[in-house]
C-alpha cells in the first residue's frame, strides 16, 4: 500500500484511473454533467409529460414510425457485416411496414415474426475489427466511443428523416423522436438512479459492456466459442468485455439513436 502511495506521489497528478478505457474521464465527466443538466431540466420532464399525457397508441405509432426509418440502414449494416439473413429480415420489415404499415406507423412486421435489429455503422466497424477505443461522452448525444463517434457521420447521412423538407417539420420530428426515445427508457433510468452509486461510472461501465455485446450480438467478443475461463478473469487488462448496460437514460440523440 505505501509503495503504491509513494509511486503515486512521485508521478504528478496520479489519480487512480477507474477504468483503463476511460483516459478522457475528466472531459467525459464534464460533458456528462452538462448532459445531465439538460436532461433534468428539459428532456426528462418533457418525456415524463409525453408518457403520461399521450395515449399509448400514439406513442407506439411515433416509436414505430421512427423505428421504421432506421430499419433500412440496419439492413444495410447487417449486410455489410455479412449477416445476410438479418439484413434480409430488416429489409422486409422496412418494406412491409412502409407500405402495409402505413408509412411505418403500424409495426406489422414484428407481428409477422420479423425481429427487429438495431445495427449502426459503429457496430459494423466493430465487426470489421476496428476496436472501440476510449469512452467518449458526446454533448447531447450521450455515451459513445471514439470508433462510434467516427462512424456517426455515416449514420447521419443514412438517416432518411434528415432529408425531410420543410426544415421546421424536420426539426419538430427530431425533437419528437428525442422525447419519444427518452420516454421509452424513463422507467429504466429511474431504476438506474436507485441502483447506481456513481451514475457516471455506472453508465460508462454499463455502456461499454453493452456496446461490445451489441457489436457481437450478445457475445462478449468475436470468438463465439471462447473458453469459459476467460470471461471470469477479474484481472484488469484491457477489458475485452465492454457491453453497455441499462438503456441509457442518457440524453437522446438529436439525430441518430445510439443504443
Amino acid at each position: 500500500m505505501t509503495l503504491a502511495a509513494a509511486a503515486c506521489a512521485l508521478s504528478a497528478g496520479c489519480a487512480t484511473p477507474s477504468n483503463p478505457q476511460d483516459p478522457l474521464e475528466k472531459f467525459n465527466r464534464a460533458t456528462f454533467a452538462f448532459n445531465d443538466t439538460v436532461d433534468r431540466v428539459a428532456l426528462k420532464p418533457a418525456a415524463t409529460a409525453y408518457k403520461k399525457v399521450l395515449p399509448g397508441f400514439v406513442q407506439t405509432g411515433v416509436s414505430n414510425f421512427f423505428g421504421n426509418l432506421s430499419d433500412a440502414w440496419s439492413s444495410a449494416n447487417n449486410l455489410m457485416q455479412g449477416k445476410g439473413a438479418d439484413g434480409a429480415t430488416d429489409f422486409m420489415r422496412f418494406a412491409m411496414n412502409s407500405t402495409l404499415g402505413i408509412a411505418g406507423i403500424l409495426d406489422i412486421a414484428s407481428e409477422a415474426g420479423l425481429q427487429k435489429h438495431n445495427e449502426d455503422f459503429g457496430q459494423t466497424l466493430g465487426v470489421w475489427g476496428v476496436p472501440s477505443g476510449p469512452y467518449l461522452m458526446l454533448p447531447l448525444l450521450g455515451p459513445s466511443t471514439i470508433r462510434d463517434t467516427a462512424a456517426l457521420p455515416a449514420d447521419l447521412w443514412a438517416d432518411p428523416w434528415a432529408y425531410t423538407t420543410p426544415v421546421h417539420v424536420r426539426n419538430i420530428g427530431i425533437g419528437v423522436r428525442a422525447v419519444d426515445q427518452r420516454a421509452s427508457v424513463l422507467d429504466a433510468s429511474n431504476l438506474m438512479e436507485e441502483a447506481a452509486l456513481d451514475r457516471y461510472e455506472f453508465i460508462r461501465d454499463g455502456y461499454l459492456q453493452r456496446r461490445q455485446s451489441r457489436v457481437f450480438d450478445g457475445e462478449s467478443g468475436p470468438d463465439k466459442d471462447a473458453p469459459k475461463g476467460e470471461s471470469k478473469d477479474e484481472a484488469k487488462p484491457a477489458p475485452a468485455s465492454n457491453t453497455q448496460v441499462v438503456p441509457e437514460p442518457a440524453t437522446p440523440a438529436t439525430e441518430t439513436q445510439r443504443k
Binding site: T16, S18, K52, K116, E194, A196, D198, T243, V245, P247
Partner: protein, 215 residues
C-alpha cells in the same frame, strides 16, 4: 432409566433431529437452467397475478424476492467479485457487512424492476455447457411489447447446496462488472468502511421511498 432404553431414546432423537435438519434443503440436484426457468416462471407468474404487487406495494415485492430468489443467489460471491482485490484486504466483519448491504441494494433494485412487469414473456435459449461444468451461463431474453427483446443472462456456480446465481447480465452488461468500477473508486477514496457506509446510506434512502406507482 435403563441404559438400553436410554440408548434407544438417544438414537431415536438423533435420527429425528438429523432428518428435521436435512429436510429443508432445496432441490440440490436440479440442473442450473431448470432451476432458473423454475424461479423465473414462479416469480413472473406471482407478479402478474398479484394485484398488490401490480399496484407497487414495495414490501410485498421484496418479500417475494427474499423468499423466492435470494435462497438461490450467492451474495457473498457476487460481492467478493465486485470488490475484486480489495476483498482479501477486508476483515471478515467488513466482508459480512459489505455483502449484506450490497445484497439489500440489489433486492431494492430488483424489486423495482419486477414491479414494472406487465405483459412480458421470458424465452430461454439452449444452454451451452458440458455436464461436468461447475460454472455455467443460462441465457434468456425478455420479450417486451415495444422494442427489441431484453437480454437476461445468469451465471451460476455449483456449490454444496446446489447451483447458485452469482452474476446477472441485463442488456449485455454484467452486474458484477458494472459495479466493480464504482466499488474500486469508492474504496480508493474512503476504504471498505466508506463503501459500506455509502451502500447503507443508499439503502436507507430507498427504504423510505415509496415505489413509484406505474402510470
Amino acid at each position: 432409566m435403563k441404559p438400553i432404553a436410554q440408548l434407544i431414546a438417544t438414537a431415536a432423537t438423533l435420527v429425528f433431529a438429523t432428518s428435521v435438519i436435512a429436510a429443508p434443503a432445496p432441490a440440490s440436484n436440479e440442473a442450473p437452467d431448470v432451476l432458473v426457468k423454475r424461479i423465473s416462471a414462479d416469480v413472473i407468474d406471482t407478479v402478474k397475478a398479484d394485484k398488490d404487487i401490480q399496484a407497487g406495494n414495495r414490501n410485498r415485492i421484496m418479500d417475494l424476492v427474499n423468499s423466492k430468489i435470494l435462497p438461490y443467489v450467492d451474495a457473498e460471491k457476487m460481492t467478493a467479485q465486485a470488490a475484486g482485490r480489495f476483498w482479501r484486504q477486508a476483515t471478515p466483519e467488513q466482508q459480512k457487512r459489505l455483502t449484506e448491504e450490497f445484497r439489500t441494494l440489489l433486492v431494492y433494485t430488483y424489486s423495482g424492476a419486477l414491479s414494472q412487469i406487465k405483459n412480458e414473456t421470458v424465452e430461454f435459449k439452449p444452454m451451452r455447457s458440458e455436464p461436468a461444468d461447475t460454472d455455467v451461463e443460462v441465457r434468456s431474453q425478455v420479450n417486451v411489447t415495444r422494442g427489441e427483446p431484453i437480454t437476461l443472462n445468469y451465471r451460476l456456480a455449483k456449490a454444496n447446496g446446489g447451483w447458485k446465481i452469482y452474476d446477472i447480465n441485463v442488456l449485455g452488461a454484467w452486474l458484477v462488472e458494472t459495479y466493480k468500477g464504482t466499488f474500486a473508486a469508492e474504496i480508493n477514496k474512503s476504504g471498505v468502511d466508506g463503501l459500506i457506509a455509502k451502500l447503507a446510506d443508499r439503502n436507507r434512502q430507498l427504504a423510505s421511498k415509496p415505489l413509484k406507482a406505474p402510470k
